[in-house]
Symmetry: C2
Subunit: 334 residues, 2 copies
């Protein structure tokens, strides 16, 4: 397996982004966010996604030097227009603004419209937690999942992030509303593996673990069946309402590509709470109790959200980031 | 089937609450919230729960005339202590305060500690939507579900509510983090029915639709398997951190009864957005599109969260609220 040092990956991304028109500072941040996704083990939205991102720049979906513009603000709630800039830069800007509002007013809410795919959702949770804030954010997407009771894709998989800062490692949940993404199902299918649990319906309407059958039916399963279907719809609508931007319904109508999505960024500044200095120890006690839960299978372990990320990050920083040689070569050639 | 008029049910509850020490105004609101739960079809947390609520008053878990006390406030984020007052009154107070903050500052966050079971979660979503606000709230609970990979109950089912106002009927999602509650599984089991989808693990660790097997193993399934397990943990921790109150871990350690839980109430005032007057029409267009989705089964229909509630409410207001005669008699005898 080929491993590429973290800084080498950043530099390579930055070179390509500069040659595609990003300014120095923006290219540096955008490159870092892509490399961090791979470094943290989210390969699908790091290196592996980078060539498509560059194509979206060249096709005009992503406008490289557009930044969010403020539409309205009232107290701790603001709406911004992403002007179709790079999704990860827009999202990073928006969480940063939510953190500023939280530092000023306890909490902040930034709703962002007309943005592009933010790549790795969890990045903006880690960002809030690094600033000592609880961060909650989500995005809508193109329609890629049927609502409960239907076989027609009408809702998005709308990833949701909740992050809590902790000195020994933040807790960061990063979940899409589909049980498995199309990309994950393709990976299982290519390896000839079954999904570990039901992932959708086959053509005859039966629940199945066969990824190929779900890829064929285009009926992936929402988490918790009817529950995730409802949650997905509500996250989408809250984002569209607060930002004044597109809903999943609009994204599906208006473009073949996934562009112009709506997002919400919430930050809560823990330092504004009277007992904030006690919180870290309380978290550590609760995590220890969780780790001590009796495993279902002998030798199994119970983990908190984000726990695996830290281990992978350390390994990849030390040994280099594992890459698919053909994709890495594709990037070197860009 | 016996049906009891809505106002008769309120009056009966109020009589009992007055005789258990609540003041006039508090008895009236508490009675209304219980009756509305049954009227909206959430029988488990309306009439059917009322006798246990009265027992909790008599056992001292619920302190009838205690109200939330402000602990701290910074801008739009406040912490309150529920002082073990009635859970539905405390929750109603807290969402009301979040709405006030939203009217002042765009959005508001009230974190509440030391409260009791809020009964019907969705009530506080409807409350926010009636005030023209998007409402998001959740509670933690006693440990009643094993985290993913474990067979020991360490996380709660932590109901989550998201509500969006709409003149033709609010959209209100009200979901617990377990696929089925213990109460639902008992109902299926008593009827001799299978669950419609897998609801947990049996004693040998296999996924099953057999409610009796799950009641025996005490291993109900989180929504979306590992995803709902993580979401449940994070909702719990955010509530405990922001309120300075108990986490599910603490509730499980400190009491046999479920008491002293932590909750979060968020409100976003849509009237503070520049295009708020367009939002209702946009929602109606999106709901119409959802209704038009191709059903999975012929003749099936696709519904938005809260759609069924309105239908049941109208039927029950017209015909009376259906009650289990023995439970109604039990309440008449209180």
């Amino acid at each position: 397996m080929l491993r590429v040092p973290f800084t080498e990956m950043i530099n390579e991304f930055k070179r390509i982004l500069l040659s595609n028109g990003l300014t120095q500072e923006r290219a540096a941040l955008c490159a870092r966010l892509f490399a961090e996704a791979s470094c943290d083990g989210v390969y699908s939205h790091g290196l592996n996604r980078f060539p498509l991102f560059v194509r979206y720049i060249r096709e005009g979906h992503v406008r490289v030097n557009e930044s969010p513009e403020k539409i309205s603000g009232f107290g701790s709630m603001e709406s911004w227009d992403g002007r179709f800039g790079p999704g990860n830069l827009n999202a990073h800007f928006s969480m940063n603004r939510a953190i500023e509002l939280a530092q000023e007013l306890g909490m902040g809410c930034v709703a962002l419209r007309n943005t592009n795919h933010w790549m790795r959702a969890g990045a903006y949770g880690w960002q809030a937690a690094d600033a000592g804030c609880i961060g909650i954010c989500w995005t809508n997407t193109m329609p890629n999942m049927p609502p409960w009771g239907s076989k027609e894709s009408k809702v998005g998989n709308n990833p949701l992030v909740i992050a809590i800062p902790r000195s020994e490692g933040h807790l960061v949940l990063d979940i899409a509303m589909s049980q498995f993404s199309y990309g994950q199902m393709q990976n299982y299918s290519q390896r000839g593996d079954e999904l570990p649990v039901d992932g959708g319906f086959d053509q005859s309407g039966e629940l199945t673990r066969d990824p190929a059958a779900i890829l064929e039916s285009r009926r992936p399963l929402p988490i918790g069946y009817w529950k995730g279907s409802g949650l997905s719809l509500m996250l989408d609508l809250v984002a569209a309402m607060l930002s004044g931007g597109q809903s999943t319904y609009d994204i599906g109508r208006n473009s073949e590509a996934e562009t112009g999505s709506s997002q919400v960024f919430l930050a809560f500044d823990l330092k504004k709470l009277p007992d904030w200095h006690l919180l870290n120890d309380r978290l550590t006690e609760i995590v220890a109790d969780l780790h001590g839960a009796e495993p279902a299978d002998q030798g199994g372990s119970i983990r908190y959200p984000g726990e695996g990320t830290l281990r992978i990050r350390q390994e990849n920083l030390q040994l280099g980031i594992p890459v698919e040689p053909s994709i890495w070569q594709q990037v070197l050639d860009l």
